[in-house]
Subunit: 296 residues, 2 copies
């Protein structure tokens, strides 16, 4: 089976898992539940749960159903961050993935509440793993990562710095901070949780964290590269929009060639980590290459 | 020591616990961390952690320091809900407890993010209990309640229905739903977590949940009563503002005398539950009476 077909199969599986945990749209609070489901069913590549699942397999995990609550939870956290990002007080976006954003359909108050509810519900869903058959201290460890990576030392921390600095020049330290936290943290967390739930030792989990960190950073720098070289039709936004917006990127700081080289080095480093574990996961390696060297 | 002095002591202790878990205001993300701390240090009666602590004592809990992460976490959840409630798209409030609301000081985007961060951080803080000395399955059970009660079947569910119906007439079922979920759920959850962490059996925890439910409902109905009979200076808002706003309350539905009677019955029922456990907690009983029969 080729990579694209395999990937499609994974996405369907993850979509099915997510649907299993969605709330039934009924009761007085039906509008809230519909807004949550609308947000999460807008589609998406399901990259974070996919990395979690494949890292779990890399470490020999076979009880895929046991980790299902964490797969769904991670995508809910990612989704809540998009719903709140799109709000008028933030990016003020009317469309995402070709559909109206949550607050455009349900109103701003419900957009705020749906995001809150998705974040809270993600932990509620993951907590179901405590009553599964997995070792409880393993679940507790994974849970701790799930609470930490989207938080102030992770995604929200990066998001807050991005919001404050989006129209100001930045140096490399601050840019790295935003890239590593805003995008990198959930990628690291997804891979770490996969490793932890498969029973990987702490030292291995740390190596996976480091690989995730490099993948997240490379992913973001590739975004900067695509902004300059991408074909407008392929990436779906005006080329060079970053430069027009006076946005600081890896390309504005170091030039196109240096930025490309950085993506290359980071991704090779990340792959080296993944390749050295006894049980190779070829799909995971291809997935990492696909995420980093994508053309949109 | 009289009740008011004892209560003040409890509030100081809880404030000290909360401060122990607050993030240091440093780094690129300093503004976000300041906004979180500003919100939680605005003061307040710390009712939810206090109910948690006293229910823990009711069941013989003595390792007060061990439950500290949950005390702080519950107040962070309550605080995030206030920060988001005050946003322009919600109640649009400029002041709370005599201070400017979070979004008035830090801007709307940071107000949204500070609320998100407080919710996420509450779970991060509570997860620290997994590495404490308490029995891990007990912590997991308490954690599960902490994820459930603020969620779609609890606080946010009630909040969403309130937002949708605040200017429409409602029947008793819908009003009860809002009261029980929006306010009751965190009170139930606080008391349940106290009981669970002290090692109470499931059947006892269910009785405590039922007592919390009655306390929460009585607390809200008393709010309706105070709106009609309260002295404007004492409760700090124009008397009878509910009627002016065409808001459905227990008083508009059943009249003042019936509403008062309902508060009386609910609180006596709740106290009956609390009084029947072998180790009485007189302070908890007084606290419940104080919360319900308050004059503001």
């Amino acid at each position: 089976m080729d990579f694209k077909t395999e990937m499609k199969e994974r996405v369907s599986y993850i979509d099915e898992v997510i649907k299993r945990y969605l709330p039934k749209e009924e009761g007085f609070e039906k509008t809230l539940l519909s807004a949550m489901n609308y947000s999460i069913l807008a589609g998406g590549k399901r990259i974070r749960p996919m990395l979690m699942l494949e890292t779990y397999r890399l470490f020999g995990g076979e009880q895929v159903n046991e980790i299902a609550p964490f797969l769904a939870a991670m995508e809910m956290i990612h989704t809540y961050s998009l719903v709140h990002d799109d709000l008028p007080a933030m990016d003020d976006d009317d469309y995402r993935r070709g559909r109206l954003t949550t607050h455009k359909v349900y109103g701003e108050a419900m957009g705020i509440l749906a995001g809150d509810a998705l974040l809270n519900y993600s932990f509620e869903v993951a907590a179901q793993a405590f009553s599964g058959t997995m070792d409880i201290s393993r679940v507790a460890k994974a849970f701790t990562v799930l609470t930490r990576k989207p938080g102030i030392g992770g995604m929200i921390g990066g998001q807050a710095v991005d919001v404050e600095n989006c129209d100001r020049p930045m140096d490399k330290d601050k840019l790295d901070f935003i890239y590593l936290l805003k995008t990198g943290a959930l990628i690291e967390g997804s891979m770490m949780i996969g490793a932890i739930l498969a029973g990987a030792k702490d030292a291995k989990v740390e190596e996976i964290e480091e690989a995730g960190r490099k993948i997240g950073l490379a992913f973001q720098i590739q975004d900067d590269v695509l902004d300059v070289i991408g074909d407008e039709q392929v990436i779906g936004k005006p080329i060079n929009s970053d430069e027009k917006n006076h946005k600081t990127t890896y390309v504005t700081l170091f030039g196109l060639e240096e930025a490309k080289k950085k993506v290359e080095i980071l991704s090779l480093d990340a792959l080296k980590v993944l390749e050295k574990f006894p049980k190779r996961n070829k799909f995971l390696e291809e997935l990492v290459r696909y995420l980093i060297f994508r053309d949109k």
